[in-house]
Each structure stands twice: as C-alpha cells, then as structure tokens.
Symmetry: C2
Subunit: 206 residues, 2 copies
C-alpha cells in the first residue's frame, strides 16, 4: 500500500488532531475551520479542503463536531492499528522518545530500548526495559517486531543498521544525522532535524 | 525575507549535505547525481534539478566536486550566519538537542539551557550552562537572543511560551506536541514528531 495523501496533508491533519485533543480536554464540542486556520496561521480554505478529504465528516452551522473530527482523522491515518517498535540507543534522545506520551496516543508502541552500555542495560524508562543489543535478533523474532527507531551516535549508525537489517528489521525511523545504506526491501525515514530547522531559519531570514 | 525555495527542496538539500560530509570524511572528491539519488531513493532528475537551483555549481564529466557542492549548499541555506538560541527545558530532549553536534555545523549555536528544577540549575551540558528560567529575560536582553527551542512538557508549554513572548523571544522551535498561541510578530515552527512518524507509517501501510 502507498499512501494516497501527500506528506503535507498528513502533517496538517496531525496538527488539527493536536488542537482537537486540547479542545476535548477543555470540554469544547465544536470548532470552525477558521479557528483551526488561525491557530496554525494557514488559510481557512486549506483546512476545509483537508477535512473534506476525510470520510464521514459532518459539519453543522456552528462548525465541526470535535469528537467526530478527531475520530475521523484517527481512522484516516490509522492510529487504531498499533505499531510495535524498538528504540535503538538509550541516550538522551532515546530516553526522550521512550518518555514521549503522545506515541501511544498515536498508535506507536515502544516495546523496549536497546543499548550496548552495561551501566544502562537492565534499567527501565517507565515500563520499558533497556535490553542488551545482543538480544535484539531473538527478541525481534519472538515478538515479531519489524520497526526500529534509531537514536545511536552518528559514528555507529551504519554498523547498527547493518545489524538491524540482519535481524530482519524492515522499517527504520532514523534520528541520526547521516544517510544510511540499506538493501532494497528495508525502508528508512530520515528524521532530519537540521533540515527542519533550516526550513524555519531560512523562512524567517535569520 | 521569505525563502524562495520550498520546504521540500530545503529538506533534500540538507540530506545532500549529509552525504557530502560523509564523502569528505572518506576523502572522495566527486559525486554523481545518480549516486545521491540512489542513497535517498529519489529520482536522479530531481537531484539534478535541485542542484541546478544553487549558485556556482560546476559539474564535470565525472560528477560534482564534493567540496564545492557542499559550500554551495551552505551558502544557499545560510549556514555561515550563526543563529544563537536558548533551549527551554533541560529534560532528556533538551539535553539531547544540546548534545547534538550537528547544530553548530549548520550554524545553530545553543548558548544556554533553562529550567525551573533546582537540581538541574547550575549544571552543564558540554560547555552550556543550565540556568534558572527566571534569569531568561535579562539574559535574552543582554545577549540579544530572539530564538528559543522549546522542549518543556506539554502541560506547561503554553505558559512557558507566554513567558518567552514577554521576554521578547520572537522565534520558537516547538518540540512540545501542542499548538501554541502567540501574538502576531512571533513565529512558531512546530516540530511535529508524531506527524513525521505518521507520514512514514502511512506510506508503508504499517
């Protein structure tokens, strides 16, 4: 399956979802496209167009029903199909991601962290154990896990990925600022933090 | 100033830059567009088109000169104009970003971290001190800093931003998964990690 929505639409839908979660916390029942547009500093027409792509999105005179719109986004983006993943590297970034509450809300379930540092192995981040990286192949096989979130230092990123590929990991969310070489059949998503920052700084001319 | 390149081009240029840095480390002098395209699994024609947008990019029979192409990307994206910023929140994510070597390579200079936790205040991450958040207004003024990287928990994100805005911070790179409300004149860039992940998981149908 390849997605039918472009990345920019998916990205905006996730931001709308953030706003809806806030609205539900504050017991607000309806929201207008212009409110969403105002919060995100984008065009009202863009918001309406994005929402029209979703299935079963009713709109009343006073705006969208917050709960319905939230569920509609979740169904479209597949939040309800949980995805299990390992975090590779229990440094600050790996720990931050393991602690990130929102992952489970969005259907991403971090099962365990892996590291090669004996001082870290056996410790826990919330309910997640830091395991010895040597155990990864057998655990990936036993738990049928195909997705890894890579947060190791740049210098060991490629060798770690080679090891993951040998362990039948098929999907890699890469936070290391390097371009990884993988065989066909393995998919890498580069979380290019500097690229994201540069888009921002370039736009504001700073 | 508004950028003339779309986000997608800037993002790809940063990835090309990653590859070029690797090439220089390995003492390789030339690279072809098809090598870059292969590593990133994109079209060769896309790479050539992106590079043609840069100034002063010579291409010989054997490919692009790695060092020249790297400098050309850096000039285009403004790496050589350093941007000073504070990190707000010295949790795992704030620490990870403070430790991120690549920031300085790309012209982002983290001057200090801020927190309200007395156990953290006064400690150092590399050469960067964790300061008391109460000191932020005077330090921002003294050091003329207008950019903040926000990594506080979601629940305190909005109140922290209100405080930053009062302290004349004009540019906020937001890692908290919430949509912030700011007055006009303040620019927010949402680092929507879940949105990025969902683009990946949506594409692979997992």
């Amino acid at each position: 399956m390849t997605g039918k929505f472009p990345d920019t639409v998916i990205n905006r839908l996730t931001l709308y979802h953030c706003i809806l979660v806030d609205y539900i916390k504050n017991n607000l029942e309806t929201i207008t496209s212009s409110t969403i547009a105002g919060l995100l500093e984008i065009d009202d027409s863009q918001v309406r167009k994005d929402i029209s792509l979703l299935k079963n999105t009713g709109k009343s005179r006073v705006g969208y029903n917050v709960a319905e719109l939230k569920i509609s986004i979740e169904k479209t983006l597949g939040f309800e199909r949980p995805k299990n993943a390992f975090i590779i590297g229990a440094g600050n970034l790996g720990m931050a991601l393991a602690n990130y509450n929102n992952f489970t809300d969005y259907g991403l379930n971090v099962v365990a962290l892996f590291d090669n540092d004996k001082n870290k192995i056996g410790k826990r981040i919330k309910d997640k154990e830091i395991c010895n990286i040597e155990e990864l192949p057998s655990l990936a096989d036993k738990l049928n896990i195909e997705m890894a979130i890579l947060t190791v230092p740049m210098a060991s990123a490629q060798s770690t990925v080679d090891f993951l590929v040998q362990s039948n990991i098929k999907y890699i969310w890469n936070f290391s600022p390097t371009v990884l070489i993988v065989p066909s059949g393995v998919k890498v998503w580069n979380e290019n933090l500097m690229g994201n920052f540069l888009q921002f700084s370039y736009k504001i001319g700073k």
